[in-house]
Symmetry: C2
Subunit: 301 residues, 2 copies
């Protein structure tokens, strides 16, 4: 099977990335990051989360970010939504897409949101209904799809189970998320296959964390299956790998470097993306977690 000719990247740095960074980030910096990503060619950006500021203080400025950023034609802005109340708070800002979520691990679901996987997805049904009635796309994130901090390795059948439940409530696209970065290429392929039993190839994406350095190998294995949509975070945002419990997303720069090397179109200007990564790393006061970003920046000096 030839590799896809183009890849759609969803830049999740502003949301999944910054949400997991320990220090607070000013709203103006978040907006500037979104602008720089847009200038670098990002056409899909997960901007913020409408969760309770009690649980996720880092995203308390969600409304200000949505209201303050420029929204050029052709760029889709997604927001994470935990429940109907969150959706109602997000709606005035007209996100192009909302992201709902469920874990592929029963223990994780119980420990983190105090209900079963089935219940957690059922609770999203009114959100999906409301979003689609408003003409807003709905993506489902299947977290812990490769492994769980409590259960260890996850059976692909559990991924299929969540995908099926998401399909049943009207979710249009699912992302198979290796939240703790433990997956390796063939295991990732099996998890994606499980999702593909419920969704078309065009409606399944990969979301890999680079905790164990596996994210690009996993992406390459997914590309070989025809998967052509991936999440990534500029500068590998999502926590410094030397901090306890931190598990950064795959760096968009590293992913774009590989894709361009494979002759795959991303629409991204890698040099401008590297600049965006350097900008946010400087704001966070730590080196970029992107190896390609670091190597490219070094060559300039």
């Amino acid at each position: 099977m030839p590799l896809p000719a183009r890849v759609r990247l969803v830049e999740v740095g502003p949301r999944d990335g910054l949400q997991n960074e320990p220090q607070p980030v000013p709203t103006a910096v978040k907006i500037e990051l979104v602008h720089r990503l847009q200038a670098a060619g990002a056409r899909d950006i997960e901007v913020t989360s409408f969760v309770s500021p009690h649980w996720v203080p880092q995203m308390a400025d969600n409304a200000q970010v949505m209201a303050g950023m420029e929204r050029p034609a052709g760029v889709r802005h997604a927001v994470l939504i935990p429940n109907l109340r969150g959706f109602e708070r997000a709606l005035p800002y007209r996100p192009d897409e909302v992201v709902v979520f469920g874990a592929a691990s029963e223990t994780f679901s119980q420990k983190n949101i105090n209900c079963s996987v089935a219940q957690s997805i059922e609770r999203f049904a009114p959100v999906v209904q409301a979003a689609r009635a408003e003409g807003i796309a709905v993506r489902g994130a299947i977290s812990c799809a490769l492994g769980c901090p409590y259960e260890g390795a996850i059976d692909p059948a559990q991924v299929g189970e969540v995908a099926g439940r998401m399909k049943a409530i009207g979710v249009q696209h699912v992302g198979v998320a290796d939240t703790i970065g433990v997956g390796t290429p063939r295991a990732v392929q099996r998890a994606l296959e499980a999702a593909l039993r419920h969704f078309d190839l065009d409606d399944v994406s990969g979301h890999f964390h680079d905790t164990y350095g596996q994210a690009l190998a996993n992406t390459y294995a997914a590309l070989e299956m025809g998967i052509w949509q991936f999440d990534a975070a500029v500068a590998g945002l999502g926590g410094c790998p030397y901090a306890k419990g931190a598990t950064g997303n795959v760096a968009t720069e590293d992913l774009v470097y590989m894709l361009h090397g494979l002759g795959i179109d991303t629409g991204i200007d890698l040099d401008a993306l590297v600049d965006a990564g350097l900008y946010i790393s400087q704001c966070l006061g730590r080196p970029s977690q992107s190896r390609a970003g670091t190597a490219i920046a070094r060559k300039r000096t």
Copy 2:
């Protein structure tokens, strides 16, 4: 094609790794590192280099390392050799293998060793002859096989050219080395294919640097071709990625993590390997460059 059932890893940390670290490393630390690698199950170790201490002061204690380390049965020890004089200095220590080298880039060869690629390989002919007469295996490293700091991308035909010349002088095995870490999976496959026109599948290995974060994806692509021998350096030794000009080897821990996840036997005890990586990183006074090593160590605390 199914993936190989087992992989032979050549641990190059003590040589290619430490040679490119800026600070001097005491001989006793090098020997302790070799011992810890052996205890972790490493069965192929590139220990040192018999180059002139004028050019590579980091390897000036080559004889002391060879004489001081334990050499358990079943472990093969390799040394890098620049010329016949180097071979003669190494011979009393009976390395199991000697490594000779040539660049796939004409400009790199001219600038670094002041002769053409063809001349540089021709000069190794007496070394190969002497080694084989002593019953010592000879491996050839094809450096800059994916890219060159001067020429940029390298045509796979140039890799084939070097492989053919190495074959002609009696080299038994070639390593395709992405010295500056710029390769991506399909380009790596083309470079390996060029070497495979002159050597059997059992006589070609991959040597990838992780400068742009591509090494594991490149390894996975090589495994899909049936390549089953790879070099790697514990803790990603070979220079901190934040230092100018440094391009660390792929971390053995990251590679072993992937291979074990793929169900491929390496003979390595990953936990003991992580300990060896922590040991040398502490000696160098900087964090390990291995993501898997860092993540595994963090989970212990």
